[in-house]
């Protein structure tokens, strides 16, 4: 397959080494970190209005976190070798250390927090379900059926502590992804100390947006009314976070323009040609400026609930597209230009290959399938909880 090259490229630069799967990897981890930080709003920062999204945000974070390493596994091949990272870790490797950050976040933060929050429901459902579901719930109880008021109070306190620890962990998880790119000093498109911070805020934006969209979608599927107070509050936080994210990205851009180092002309040309559609049109105009304006409109103009809902859906979808475009422009854009600054190559995405479009689509859909299973197993709905409460009272008394 001939790859169109313009100008001069070194031979090892013609073919891109990091594919669409490496675009997907920061996109997925970003959703995890963002969703968790939204959950922490309710738990730690006492923003009670977002409570209906709390459990959904945690389950979303878990579903995406399970899938997050798969793009890397597929990109590298030999998935069995990734276990070596834990057996014989190399402390000077940022990627090897990321394995531990990932494991810490998955097991010590997310799973523990979800388990503590759902423990009461798990215990009750282990009693009132049958068949394989009962078996699953019984395993999840770890053999303890104590759901006394005091034990639940202890769960609440420990859960709060886990969330407090989880916030810097979530920052670390996605800041780390930005760090991996930002520390590649040979690549001027990536090498920036602002990269971890920009990645972090864009992660928060995408995580908040996806939980907002999922909440609205699930309410619609369940034919339940959307809690507008909740969605308005989530949208407000999305708006604030988006403004910080956009400011940071513009700060990075202005800094690059003013600094105008030896790479600037080459990168500037690339942004005006090969990346114009994906960066200027999709990422900045459609994926950032337009959703900020749309949500900003809801903040300054009093609109009916129906109009606000429509705006949130459109703005949320545009946000997701914009954040994905940002990951695309960082990962793919950083490989399109030559280190000689005299040439540009092209990314040709295959379809049904190990790193092709089909694989990327499957990996994007997979977290939603996992989320569907998790939601079935651990329903995040408050009303379900109250129904369970009555069963609990019947089964265990006031205790």
């Amino acid at each position: 397959m001939q790859i169109p090259v313009e100008g001069f490229m070194y031979p090892n630069e013609v073919e891109l080494q990091w594919s669409v799967l490496i675009v997907l990897y920061p996109f997925l981890t970003g959703l995890v970190a963002g969703a968790f930080i939204l959950a922490s709003l309710e738990r730690v920062f006492m923003v009670k209005a977002v409570k209906p999204t709390y459990r959904l945000a945690l389950l979303t974070a878990l579903a995406f976190l399970i899938v997050a390493p798969l793009p890397l596994q597929l990109h590298l091949g030999h998935p069995e070798r990734s276990f070596e990272m834990y057996l014989t870790p190399h402390r000077s490797s940022a990627m090897a250390m990321f394995g531990f950050v990932y494991l810490w976040y998955l097991l010590a933060v997310l799973v523990v927090e979800i388990w503590l929050d759902y423990r009461r429901d798990i215990v009750v459902m282990s009693q009132c379900t049958t068949g394989w579901k009962r078996l699953v719930y019984r395993v999840l109880t770890l053999g303890s059926t104590n759901i006394s008021e005091r034990s639940l109070h202890i769960d609440e306190r420990v859960g709060w502590l886990v969330t407090v620890i989880g916030i810097p962990s979530a920052f670390l998880l996605h800041g780390y992804v930005g760090f991996i790119f930002g520390s590649v000093k040979a690549n001027p498109w990536w090498s920036s100390p602002l990269m971890p911070v920009v990645f972090l805020f864009s992660a928060m934006v995408s995580g908040i947006a996806i939980v907002m969209l999922l909440y609205m979608l699930m309410c619609r599927l369940r034919r339940e009314p959307i809690d507008m107070d909740c969605v308005d509050t989530v949208a407000k936080y999305l708006f604030y976070t988006f403004i910080i994210d956009f400011s940071l990205e513009m700060l990075d851009l202005i800094h690059r323009i003013y600094e105008a180092d030896e790479s600037f002309r080459s990168l500037d040309f690339m942004v005006h040609t090969r990346l114009f559609l994906s960066q200027v049109v999709i990422q900045i105009l459609l994926g950032t400026v337009l959703p900020i304006l749309l949500i900003g409109l809801t903040q300054v103009v009093k609109l009916a609930a129906k109009q606000r809902k429509r705006i949130y859906v459109v703005a949320g979808c545009l946000t997701m597209i914009g954040i994905f475009a940002m990951r695309w422009n960082v990962v793919i854009g950083g490989q399109l230009f030559s280190k000689s600054f005299l040439g540009y190559t092209t990314y040709k995405m295959a379809f049904a290959t190990r790193e092709g479009l089909l694989t990327a689509i499957v990996l994007t859909v997979l977290p939603f399938v996992i989320l569907g299973v998790l939601v079935k197993l651990l329903p995040p709905w408050p009303e379900k909880k109250s129904a369970i409460s009555s069963v609990a009272v019947a089964a265990y008394g006031a205790d």
Binding site: F8, Y10, V112, L142, G143, S144, N146
Partner: protein, 159 residues
Amino acid sequence: MKAFKDAGHLFRLASVFLVGGVLFLAFRGVLVPRSFGQYGHYRGNAIKETAALPISYAGHQVCESCHADLLEVKSKGVHKRVACEACHGPLATHADDPASVQPAKLDTAVLCVRCHEANLAKPKNFPQVVSAEHSGGAPCETCHQPHSPAIVAVAGGSQ
């Protein structure tokens, strides 16, 4: 004691992590080779194992001890510093038993362009051609003698 009783599930959770940690350490003890880290961040025994592998390359001195005629031609051309096995491949088995192990005949239409196909990244003074235009796929040895490839005009024709 009541507090401990009500926090019993947390101890169970901690036990799960503890068992997981112990299992991990046990697996690690079994899976990580004993010699790992002996010299650096790799398996120390790998050095001995690699050293014990059969030798594939004979080395140009061994080739030259039999093929003195080719050495004479080669030493006068631009390929004088190219080792024999760089083109002919590893031939220790041939050096050990020249009668029964014969090297494969090389296809110069494929072999030469590995180095001499034109590429912008190569130094300008390095001999390079666009093979499709230069020879149209014909073997290079039609015109060039691989051991001393320069075409020198001689009286009555070219060499």
